[in-house]
């Protein structure tokens, strides 16, 4: 059985309130007790409220990554569990799965059974962010004794016990403490056994419990603001406002979908996978009027490793890719999910079933946006981006420090390759798409670990040639100073299957891992690095867009001048000959090579 995709189980939405949800597709003018301008004010106030909720969480979090990169999501939901507004923070993997997760809380704890002072928690990967480190905490808000809304936020816990985020876990049981849908605070009274269990199961209890308190406080900040503005405007709840916001958003999303011609648009993306077994992501985007369906039928099956993806995470990244391509300006709320239905066969890598291991779900989930955009390339040639390196590269080193030999170190960092090109725009070099995760400066890496970086530069010729060139990736060389062997876990993708180009553009260059030692390290397999060896990582470049023969020779000249593209590659891939003594295009030689162009 496939789960209902893309949004809210319709039965729950409709059982909660008796209203006609028929879609007449015209901009809705639902009769409201408030005028147009008041609506705009209330909407902006609601968005401000969730931004304040997020700011409170960021401010009080114990976890550097939450504060540094805003790696969290915060939102307000109506009585029906529909997300009405969301803060402008976070990664797509937190934001969208949380949006669709509230219905699960309300199935377990129906809205009118909740009491003031209740706080709910879960980290169920199949209901929220597909990783048990991501804790979601929800708090109902009461006005005159009636639950009128819920605030929720989702935040990455520093630790959740178990093996940590190893990609080679065999089941979710190895990945840490699993918290089903629970009441964490009951009518104002903390349920101490839950706190005790968490405290006893994690490696950093101060920080993890501290962050849970921050999450609770953030929801309270949001609730306080919401109640005070409802009072100011004399509103009993947000139901009417939510209808208006969600319906308008849905109408805007439907209008964007209507601009895409009806049809079935297909694509396939192959990525390295594990142990010489590539993973296939296959998708069909079906446009019918103002409905959009993404079906991942035909994709690889789930694997006995920690890279499986729960459907809600698949949906989160897929929705994100669709939104980037067709409606970046439409707000993210329940209305933007409604016209989109995303499915994958149960037991496939993109809809893995419990108890599959899912800790490394980003290693596969990050490729969903590119796959969907590839499918839409013919329908929306000016709006989609060619695939890029897509999956963030995560390097984990672990080993003995020097000296007495008992102390050990562990260090993790993230790196970005090149993004894909699109109509009218080259790809970005060394920028994380879709995850948006920041990298680490070399000086900080050296200050925090026994690593010496020898080189960190853009990788010449790594961007896929095209009328618009793919973004360049980067090359890093480093060695370890401990004088002892260390172990490298490298979560690297696209080392065998490069990022494809679009509309006649060429693929980017594949990634590569090597070291100047006899036994070569292998991506995704724990590899030993010998003392003194220099490890070299070359990340994958982004795919090109449009035929390289049509690239403006002036752009090729600028690329060669900057060393982004070599003189040889300019001639070979673009048919443009550069006079590097005078830094001009050799017009005659170029004309000879590019009969149709220039």
């Amino acid at each position: 059985m496939e789960q209902p995709g893309g949004g809210y189980p319709e039965d729950l939405t409709q059982s909660a309130i008796c209203q006609d949800n028929s879609q007449d597709n015209e901009p809705l003018t639902v009769p409201m007790p408030i005028d147009q301008i008041t609506l705009d004010i209330l909407w902006s106030r609601l968005i401000a409220t969730v931004n304040e909720q997020a700011a409170a969480l960021i401010r009080t979090s114990f976890t550097a990554i939450v504060r540094d990169s805003g790696d969290l999501a915060a939102a307000v939901f109506d009585r029906r569990g529909r997300m009405v507004a969301q803060s402008v923070t976070g990664t797509p993997g937190h934001i969208n799965p949380m949006a669709t997760g509230m219905v699960h809380f309300l199935e377990r704890f129906p809205i009118d059974t909740l009491r003031p002072g209740d706080v709910l928690i879960t980290n169920d990967p199949w209901m929220t962010a597909s990783q048990i480190n991501d804790l979601t905490i929800a708090t109902p808000v009461f006005k005159d004794g009636r639950a009128i809304a819920l605030f929720a936020n989702c935040c990455h816990a520093l630790d959740i016990g178990g093996r940590g985020l190893a990609a080679d876990s065999r089941s979710v049981y190895e990945e840490g403490l699993y918290l089903p849908l629970l009441k964490l605070v009951d009518a104002g009274k903390p349920v101490e056994p839950i706190f005790d269990i968490i405290r006893a199961n994690v490696r950093t209890p101060e920080e993890v419990i501290g962050d849970i308190h921050s999450q609770i406080i953030a929801n309270e900040v949001g609730a306080e603001q919401l109640l005070s503005f409802l009072d100011e405007f004399g509103l009993p709840d947000i139901e009417g406002l939510a209808d208006e916001i969600i319906d308008r958003t849905e109408a805007a999303m439907r209008a964007a979908i209507r601009d895409i011609p009806n049809g079935d648009y297909r694509s396939e993306m192959t990525i390295d996978g594990f142990d010489d077994t590539p993973i296939l992501i296959k998708c069909c985007v079906r446009i019918r009027g103002d409905d959009l369906e993404v079906d991942y039928a035909g994709s690889s099956g789930q694997v006995p490793l920690g890279v499986n993806v729960a459907l809600n995470y698949t949906q989160g990244y897929t929705t994100y890719g669709i939104k980037c391509a067709i409606s970046p300006e439409v707000p993210n709320n329940a209305g933007s999910f409604r016209p989109v239905r995303i499915t994958a066969p149960e037991g496939s890598i993109l809809n893995a079933v419990h108890p599959a291991a899912v800790g490394g779900r980003h290693l596969v989930g990050h490729f969903c946006p590119s796959t969907v955009m590839m499918a839409l390339a013919d329908a929306l040639p000016e709006k989609v981006q060619a695939p890029g390196f897509d999956g963030i590269w995560n390097s984990q080193l672990e080993g003995e420090l020097g000296g007495d030999g008992h102390k050990r170190f562990a260090y993790i960092w993230f790196s970005a390759g090149g993004t894909g090109a699109m109509h009218g725009k080259d790809g970005l070099s060394a920028v994380a798409y879709p995850s948006g995760i920041a990298g680490f400066p070399a000086e900080v890496i050296e200050a925090s670990s026994p690593i010496i970086m020898h080189k960190r530069e853009l990788r010449q010729d790594s961007g896929g040639p095209g009328q618009w060139r793919g973004g360049l990736s980067q090359v890093m060389e480093y060695s370890i100073t401990t004088g002892k062997p260390v172990y490298l876990q490298s979560f690297y993708e696209r080392t065998k299957y490069p990022a494809p180009g679009l509309k006649g553009g060429s693929p980017g260059v594949a990634g590569r891992l090597s070291a100047n030692q006899e036994k070569q390290p292998i991506p995704k397999i724990t590899s030993q690095i010998e003392p003194g060896a220099v490890v070299r990582i070359e990340l994958p470049g982004g795919g090109g867009f449009g035929p390289a023969g049509e690239r403006d020779p002036a752009a090729v000249l600028a690329d060669v001048r900057g060393g982004y593209v070599s003189k040889e590659a300019a001639e070979r891939d673009y048919g443009v000959v550069i006079d590097t003594a005078r830094w001009v295009v050799d017009e005659a030689a170029t004309r000879a090579r590019r009969p149709a162009g220039a």
Binding site: Q36, I41, A325, V330, Y433
Partner: protein, 697 residues
């Protein structure tokens, strides 16, 4: 002479403001001349002449000129600086372009990265390597430096930034490279990263170094010329000081070495004015609110001082989006800026939502009401349509406004699509602008652990007094203070700025195992250098020092700036520094983290001169109350009644001290209009400030 006259001058986008004041309060002249973008010093020199003439003094009476300008910011935004090269450690020339690898906008596939100030073919490398502890892995190969010289010459490079890895712990290689380059290329501007920003993180350090050297020649030429002209044309021999973004001033010798420290000078001076007026009127905590033509800025004044941040960004690709600009690691008065100003354009988006800004009609064509060809309705047009501005008294009558045109544009572009009449649409524009500013201010406060509702608002800028009451009501703030001269606050703020010079030095260690003798050597070194710089202008006994440490819990990404004690530091100081760190951390983040080691990364010293005396002119109390200030009545929109009502309009210059009015009311001055479109008690104090108390609803 007996008394000291000082001249503050601030160049803004449209006007150059001047204030000439004496320390005894007898002279206080305000001047305003149109900015002269092609030669900004013209307006300063002309304006200086005007205010001196008005005050009846000549140039020899002026002891100091304090100057602030957006010239360097504009050069960075418009990329009109020098042809700039970078010299760095081999293998790392792309740190500048790899930057942080993140996305500052989640959904926009057409997101652009800031273009590096040094193009890739001018990012050159030398053979050398210093490690994180300062030891040398590979000595500097001087031949590799000499090898670059022909290329630098051939390319016509005018400015060179030098940033080598870990130079913040060992600057020997950077200095040697600079010596070789300076000897070979005498006319070229050079900035060495360990001089300007000796802090870890190569991208931020390189970005700051290049931004500095990129505008260095512009600063030298401009400030030199200005000083010359003030002497020759106005007879002002007194020293020229330049306003810095950290709220202090510096002599032009230092200012031209570190021009990147001047970038946010205008807004910084505005915040200083807020702090000054706050102290004067007994409000040590304030929310400074400055709304101009294109943006609004909010800044928290905490216990009499503006908050200081260690870095900011210039030249943002997305005007107000964090992460879209060039990071600059210099101290700056911390503020939030959003794209809401008088010129912000209102439009209806695809979701039939009314949106205000960040697109702006700017000064040209400006709002529809200016009649200079603007067709898109703006916040100023809405303010006019609501009766908040007098079409015949804009800028004191210098410009007449087209009310009909403004209303028609609002009706056509906003009213019709939304099914609203022009008044409802205008109110929507006004109020949504207020909502955006209130929301930004509230988040700015929350991020700093403050509650915006507790802060009185200090309103200035051309549009600030028009909107501050509405913003205060949204924030539930109970008081708004409107200084006289809303348009010249930055120039006034400059007159309150002390000489200040910032130093920072990285000398890391764990708090419980700190090398205190080493730390004291670092601090003493910075203090003695600061003393020698400040002592050029003030008596040695007037020099003060503030010390800070950048501290963090081990493994936390953020460090916080902690004030630390004066005097000799040793093992005994550890407990007090820890307590101060926890105090700061708790204020910022709401908690402390027990049982976690604390590290110090860098040490900072600010050397300060004395705060100059500024005495504002006072006005007399008069028995007549407000009657004689009443100019008449006009119909203004009262949101509480959803209707226009005739309200009294007062002439600000004729309000006497102690005069008390009741809202709704309008109080007009030349550069702005105080709009109280609801209940409130309006008092005039002895310095002509209006203090408005808003009743709780």
């Amino acid at each position: 002479m007996g008394r000291t006259l000082r001249l503050g001058s601030d160049i803004g986008g449209t006007f150059t403001d001047l204030v000439l004041a004496s320390d005894d309060g007898r002279t206080f002249e305000i001047g305003k001349v149109l900015t002269t973008p092609d030669a900004p010093d013209d307006a300063v020199v002309v304006g200086a002449g005007q205010v001196m003439a008005a005050a009846g003094v000549t140039g020899d009476a002026v002891a100091h000129v304090i100057h602030g300008t957006t010239l360097f910011t504009n050069a960075l935004i418009e990329r009109k600086g020098a042809r700039t090269a970078l010299i760095t450690t081999r293998g790392f020339r792309d740190a500048l372009e790899i930057a942080r690898e993140h996305r500052y906008d989640m959904y926009d596939l057409r997101m652009k990265r800031p273009v590096p100030l040094a193009p890739r073919h001018l990012r050159l490398e030398v053979d050398e390597r210093v490690l994180v502890d300062g030891t040398v892995l590979k000595p500097l190969d001087e031949a590799s430096v000499h090898a670059l010289i022909p290329q630098l010459k051939a390319e016509g490079v005018e400015a060179i930034g030098i940033t080598l890895l870990h130079s913040y712990v060992n600057d020997a290689h950077e200095r040697r490279v600079a010596e070789i380059i300076a000897a070979a290329l005498p006319g070229v501007a050079i900035t060495v990263s360990s001089d300007l920003v000796p802090e870890i993180r190569e991208y931020d350090r390189t970005s700051t170094t290049l931004a500095n050297v990129y505008v260095k020649r512009i600063a030298e030429r401009y400030l030199g010329r200005l000083q010359d002209r003030l002497v020759k044309e106005q007879g002002i021999e007194g020293a020229l000081y330049v306003m810095q973004s950290n709220g202090g001033v510096s002599r032009i010798e230092e200012a031209t070495r570190y021009p990147v420290r001047l970038v946010e000078s205008g807004p910084a001076a505005g915040a200083l004015a807020a702090a000054y007026y706050g102290a004067l009127t007994g409000h040590l905590d304030l929310l400074s609110f400055d709304m101009g033509g294109t943006t609004a800025k909010a800044c928290i004044i905490d216990k009499g001082e503006p908050l200081i941040a260690p870095e900011f960004e210039v030249a943002r690709e997305y005007q107000f989006k964090k992460g879209s600009g060039l990071p600059v690691k210099v101290s700056v008065i911390e503020m939030i800026e959003i794209g809401t100003g008088g010129g912000s354009i209102a439009r209806v988006d695809g979701l039939r939502r009314l949106q205000v800004g960040p697109q702006s009609a700017g000064a040209k064509p400006g709002p529809v009401a200016y009649g200079q060809g603007g067709t898109e309705p703006t916040v100023t047009d809405a303010d006019l349509a609501l009766g908040y501005l007098d079409p015949g008294f804009f800028l004191g009558g210098r410009m007449s406004l087209d009310v009909g045109g403004a209303k028609r544009a609002i009706a056509a572009k906003v009213g019709e699509p939304l099914g609203l009449d022009a008044t409802a649409a205008a109110w929507g524009i006004h109020q949504l602008a207020n909502e955006a500013m209130a929301s930004a201010a509230r988040i700015h406060a929350i991020e700093r652990g403050k509650d915006a509702a507790r802060f009185p608002i200090f309103a200035f800028g051309g549009a600030g007094p028009v909107h501050a009451y509405g913003v205060a009501r949204i924030l539930r703030s109970s008081r708004v203070i409107y200084p006289l001269g809303a348009g010249v606050m930055s120039a006034i703020g400059m007159l309150t700025a002390p000489l200040a010079f910032d130093f920072v030095k990285t000398f890391p260690g764990s708090l419980d195992a700190m090398d205190w003798a080493g730390a004291m050597r670092v601090i003493d070194g910075m203090e003695s250098e600061g003393r020698s710089i400040i002592a050029k202008s003030v008596a040695a006994e007037d020099i003060r020092f503030q010390r800070f440490a950048d501290m963090r819990y081990r493994k936390q990404g953020y460090d916080v700036r902690v004030p630390i004690p004066a005097g000799r530091l040793d093992t005994q100081s550890g407990a007090e520094i820890k307590a101060r760190f926890e105090e700061v951390f708790e204020r910022l983040y709401g908690h402390v983290i027990p049982n976690t080691p604390i590290d110090i990364l860098s040490w900072r010293v600010i050397a300060l001169g004395p705060k100059p005396e500024l005495t504002l002119p006072t006005i007399k109390a008069a028995r007549g109350g407000a009657k004689e200030a009443l100019k008449g009545h006009r119909a203004v929109y009262i949101p509480g009644e959803r209707a226009f009502r005739e309200v009294p309009v007062y002439d600000r210059y004729r309000l006497s001290a102690g005069a008390e009015l009741q809202g709704p009311a309008i109080v007009e001055e030349r550069e702005s209009t105080v709009v109280i479109n609801g209940p409130g008690t309006i008092r005039t104090d002895e310095w002509s400030n209006l203090v408005v108390d808003i009743p709780k609803t």
